[in-house]
Amino acid sequence: MSASTRALLEVRHLRKTYGERVILDDVSLDVSAGDVVCLIGSSGSGKSTLLRCLDLLEPVDDGTIHLDGVEITDPEVDEKAVRRRVGMVFQAYNLFPHLTVLENCTLAPRRAHGVRRREARTRALELLERFGLAEHVDKHPDRLSGGQQQRAAVVRALCAKPDLLLLDEITAALDPELTGEVLDIVRDLAAGGTTMVLATHEMSFAREVATTVCFLEGGRILEQGPPAQMFSDPTHERTRSFLKRVLAP
């Protein structure tokens, strides 16, 4: 990679600890526009923490993150401005229960991005319809199924037109059937060129959509590469044993 074409996201030597426990240890990662980076690894390997650090939800203890060439780990950076460019979807949906699906989706555009009411509404409705939620727009989240809620959560993140979308095990709370409907959306977004970093346990999905797969263990990226190589011919012994465990029928 030449120096002139900087990646959209550059993570260098990231370190994160909770007291004595080291959660992320010297993590480096490049994400270019249009990339779909899948983070795999067992629970507690640091996938979620890495995503939360990228969205500045957790302060880092060392290392740097550059977004579009600007260091966002700088203490003087405008965190809100950074988060306006980055979308995040959580494992437990985290929809606001007191707002309808539509209101959930228009909240950030209207209150954080200063989009006009009508415009925010139009865009939200368009996206909700595209992802099959047209009939649920005026319902409150708790009335919907898990899959519908998670789809609504993805739409909520998309309504803010993020340059980068972070997905934190968004299908972990769903059954296989509902998982399918949520992954369809992500597949759709990947095909449309949305830049994404996602933590996932869905290996076949990762193999299908990822441009890069990273295997995390003990807070380090042990190995990364294109899915074809990672899944068929991993170089690291640990990666091999992890894949053997999760891919076992």
Partner: protein
């Protein structure tokens, strides 16, 4: 330990950039401390000069802030405030379980307990509708006049009963709000484990509800501390009545300011204590949730 070897490979020392960032953060902290100090001193100073240069300040200072009178009234006020404190402590201990019982009574679903439900609703509605001072006067003067056998005829006792009645109605509503705010899934999972209605309430719902309503509970208790002063309507020598008595005799109202100071000193530690308790609970229970 877990997988051996790998974790000891790189002893970490903060990078140049991290050290720089720490410097910046330190500067940011210093700057906000400076701004906070300047703002506070500025605003308070302005307020002090505004009051100090007011034309009537001299008179006010003599009548409300006289050191001589404060010293002379101090022992009597201290006796009075001690009564307020005892009244508050005893009432609080009675109110908490009583209010919780009323709140639970209101939430029962069993047809057998319908009377409890009715009583709880009527009690909270009626009692909250009556001004506390009226309850105190009615009970404090009325009940001793009945000369009931076996019950104390002391006005202070009945004033306490009035406070308990009044406040347990308010506190019951606070508890009810807390109980209703616990998500139904918590009840469902307790039921699924085979717990009965009472056990579910006692071990699952109420502990969570109580934690959630600590701030409004504190609100009511600070309010109760101050409302012990309403007992003065019965001519009982608690702090406010003592101060008023002094004022009527010497035409100096410094003791009233003194009493106000005592009340503030009483409430602040309570507020700090609950803040601390809340923070400790939050740290313990939310540490894992990220």
């Amino acid at each position: 330990m877990g997988p051996g070897g790998a974790s000891t490979a790189s002893p970490w020392t903060p990078s140049e950039r991290e050290l720089e960032r720490r410097d910046v953060r330190r500067r940011q902290r210093r700057r906000s401390l400076l701004v906070a100090t300047l703002m506070t001193v500025g605003v308070l100073g302005l307020a002090a000069t505004a009051i100090g240069t007011a034309p009537g300040w001299q008179r006010v200072q003599e009548t409300f802030f006289s050191y001589e009178d404060a010293r002379r009234a101090f022992p009597a006020i201290l006796d009075g405030i001690w009564l307020n404190i005892r009244l508050f402590l005893v009432c609080q201990v009675v109110i908490l379980p009583l209010a919780l019982l009323i709140a639970i009574g209101r939430g029962t679903r069993s047809p057998w307990l319908a009377p409890a439900r009715v009583v709880a609703v009527v009690y909270t509605d009626v009692v909250r509708g009556i001004p506390t001072i009226l309850l105190i006067v009615l009970l404090g003067f009325g009940v001793p006049a009945l000369q009931l056998q076996g019950l104390p005829n002391d006005r202070t006792f009945w004033a306490g009963v009035a406070l308990v009645i009044s406040y347990s109605a308010y506190v019951a509503e606070v508890f009810r709000a807390g109980i209703e705010s616990i998500h139904p899934s918590q009840v469902a999972s307790a039921r699924a484990l085979g717990l009965g209605h009472v056990a579910t309430l006692r071990h699952v719902v109420v502990p969570q509800a109580v934690r959630r309503v600590v701030p409004p509970l504190l609100n009511d208790f600070v309010s109760l501390q101050k409302d012990t002063a309403l007992v003065s309507a019965l001519g009982i020598f608690e702090a406010v009545y003592t101060a008023r008595d002094y004022g009527n005799f010497y035409f100096n109202y410094t003791p009233l300011v003194l009493v106000a100071g005592f009340f503030v000193v009483m409430t602040v530690p309570l507020a700090r204590l609950t803040d601390w308790l809340q923070r400790r609970l939050a740290e313990r229970e939310r540490a894992g949730l990220r």
